[in-house]
Assembly symmetry: C2
Homo-oligomer: 232 residues x 2
């Protein structure tokens, strides 16, 4: 199991249309200092609640916005708009994932000004989004404690396509007899060395650690970007 | 919204390979008196726990077996085997749904003898399995209380492809502040008249009602099958 399968994947499919668009997006995000973070998970893992809390917490000190994908309805955009951050819904119809071109189109007429963070909430699906690079800097895979500890083993590809695992709904861990050690072991079996954060967006437990982690990731990327001779 | 969209779909795609295989399976199930029930849901909605309890409960009075689909691992087959019913795993690799030909292949060398019920647990996914008829008599779509009440609105196609909705993990309803009225309303909005059963496989609440429902469905099918002049 390679430590960087996503990179390998991107290289292999360099000519594929989605990857060309994703690369253009990534270049643009880097040039303009936007840190793009995408979220993937099964339906109901708590992406929207987690994102709403994240947007609210970051907003006093950072400029944030979110794109949110779903087959139908604009419910998630409405929920996220309560954070007062700019939010745009992408409805995919019958398509079970977002594609780079959908991100490109959504950004085209969107006057959000300069951003520190752009969040991209993918369609709830543990299979389809794996192979679509969206130009994001960081991909989070969410796994709720109610889903069962063996999800990483059953859906290895999506865990391999992500950079960080986030265990959600920690407030329910006891009620569902969540076995944290087994979950961590299974994540590491599929993707050795993957950072894992555990939290509850409902109670706030673990949210501060997540925000510290996220801002450190962004600072690290900015340090590289602004380094003399980096060409950016 | 048609009350029978699956039937319409099957008719439209009559020439498609999957539907031809599914039709052959359905004919065979009907001729041999097997009542085939498939389960679809998002990953972690509790299909396997629910199915394990169902197999255990039915076994004293009925001959049962199960096929279970997953991208990777044979974990679910191992869990279901605890029920002592014959169980076979179908691993799909990167494919996010079962297809009729996979069912046909799995049944080919499987000496299970005459069955009253064959359960087919699909890959955990709320999108991909929608368009694949597996020859089943009844398709259950599971929705756990932890997933959010708006899933039917977000994934209308899978709810339209199913015959019955089963709300699972009822024991967690209070902890997650599940709004049962909203869930029911959303299911009916997408698929008017759809029967909805609510249960907890963990505590057993609602399981008896489900089993009574299931056996009534089978008896109804058998009554038609054995009717004089039905040609079967």
């Amino acid at each position: 199991m390679s430590a960087e399968p996503r990179l390998v994947e991107v290289r292999k499919n360099v000519l594929k249309q989605n990857d060309l668009v994703a690369r253009a997006l990534r270049d643009r995000f880097r040039q303009t200092g936007v840190f793009a973070v995408s979220l993937v998970s099964s339906p109901g893992a708590g992406k929207t609640t987690f994102l709403e809390k994240t947007l609210k917490s970051l907003q006093p000190r950072a400029k944030v916005a979110a794109l949110v994908g779903d087959l139908a309805t604009e419910n998630d955009a409405a929920r996220l708009a309560r954070s007062l951050a700019p939010v745009k819904q992408i409805t995919t119809g019958t398509i079970c994932h977002l594609e780079a071109a959908m991100i490109q189109n959504a950004l085209r007429d969107w006057e959000v000004g300069p951003l520190d963070f752009l969040f991209i909430e993918n369609v709830g699906n543990l299979v389809c989004p794996s192979s679509y690079d969206l130009g994001e800097e960081l991909r989070l895979v969410l796994l709720s404690v109610t889903e069962g500890e063996d999800k990483p083993l059953k859906y290895p590809t999506i865990f391999n396509s992500a950079d960080v695992a986030v265990i959600t709904k920690l407030d329910l861990a006891e009620a569902v007899e969540f076995d944290a050690a087994a979950a961590h072991k299974n994540i590491q079996a599929v993707r050795p060395g993957m950072p894992v954060l555990s939290l509850s967006a409902k109670t706030g437990q673990g949210m501060d650690e997540f925000l510290v982690f996220l801002e450190a990731q962004r600072r690290r990327r900015e340090a590289v970007r602004l380094m003399p001779g980096s060409g950016r």
